[in-house]
Subunit: 144 residues, 4 copies
């Protein structure tokens, strides 16, 4: 169902990794780039109690941080050399409380335009070997 | 232009402060509740370089965290005793790079229903005494 | 990838058809219910030049009408007897100009809750036997 | 609170009126351009029973059509000569059932960029001299 993409920059993986490592926030919250293909990025983060909201669930803002970052780098993976990405906007639905041992955010490109890229994001919570979809995002990213 | 509201719970301020203090993430990122009225909440956070994206701007995920939290507590301020809030969904437009010394997120209730509350969020960056609007949010919150 | 659902109301198909037929707008724009399964609805509409924007493309508002309606009825198909649906909110990305002979909107339930249902919508334009994705929606529907 | 704007094109009003008149859908649903200032557009439409959903309310898709169109033309009013506008995406919250004699949609520019313009939309229902806010939109428009 999802489109497949040919990267414009043969060094796309290096570009994405370098930019990911330049995001101080990713290290700060313990997030890692766990999958990288043209137009698809996954970011994995173990649960941490210092990133929670009032009920002890992972804060919606952190769930969004993971999804937004995965979408942004999925978009970057298809851009030509020298491109930078900025999030224009996103919409996130929080489907279930973010309870789990580990969280995996996936960003996938739906449409790659010259200026704008539209991505779908999903965040899953893993607990005792089961994955539950906790959030879904629709995001617009601009190349700069 | 904005509606004015009468709180259903006379202890609304205490309820919001207690719930804010129970969000581990707020302490972790150095955010404080800086304004609290029925249907209106502001949260203030100084810039921190460990919360940035690849260009050194405040990460869109943290900008969203502030706006989402302000919206959630604005909603909570109008709810009856014993209510809890969960974000159903939000949409955020990032209007300018989040560059500043301090960030102020404001959440305001647009419509308070029995089950669902709709809020508008805004995040401003303060730099050398000037405030710049960096993000605007539209959020749906559910009472639980 | 998409979840499968068991309808709570064995007469779900009749309920959806009756409600669809009660939407005066559907007849007015020439839209028909073309597929109906538990949690999945498709609506088909031939192009009409009186529903266009300034470039002669199908107006984004009509593309949204089709997607919103497909999402609402996908949600209704999973609800218990006597339920009615109202759209709480939706977000739509317009991916390509809506040019085609026929438009097919699909609404699919992502998560069916007791109060809120979250759906994904997609609109495709068919032209000379080819289908092109022109819009994607994320919608929240409430049972009333 | 809202920013004021200086139009780049002194003939902005003529450009907007010409483009509005070129939207076949506006005539088809009986909508008129009722206010036009730099960065602000209002569109007015009397209720019509052939544009309703299953409860006899104005269909959310038509409410969205009005808000989207008002936002698009508010954006166009600030663009240089020769520009055309396309909606990239929008998010709409439906705050109350769209019941009324007349509907007024207002689009206002929040941020006018070279490529992207972000607008806020609002739709009010007028009934027996009272105006009720029925929907609020956040929209991204691209200049083409």
């Amino acid at each position: 169902m999802k489109p497949t993409f040919t990267p414009k920059n043969e060094h796309y993986a290096e570009v994405v990794r370098t930019s990911f490592n330049a995001q101080a926030l990713m290290a700060h919250i313990g997030a890692q780039l766990s999958r990288l293909e043209p137009g698809l990025v996954e970011i994995t983060m173990p649960f941490r109690s210092d990133l929670t909201q009032q009920n002890g669930f992972l804060h919606a803002g952190i769930v969004t941080t993971l999804a937004d970052t995965a979408c942004g780098f999925a978009a970057l993976s298809l851009m030509p050399e020298g491109a930078n990405v900025l999030s224009v906007e996103f919409k996130q639905n929080l489907l279930s409380p973010a309870v789990g041992e580990t969280f995996v955010a996936r960003g996938q490109v739906l449409r790659a335009g010259r200026t704008l890229t539209v991505c779908q994001g999903e965040v899953r919570a893993l607990q005792q070997g089961e994955a539950k979809l906790v959030a879904t995002m629709l995001a617009t990213i601009i190349a700069r």
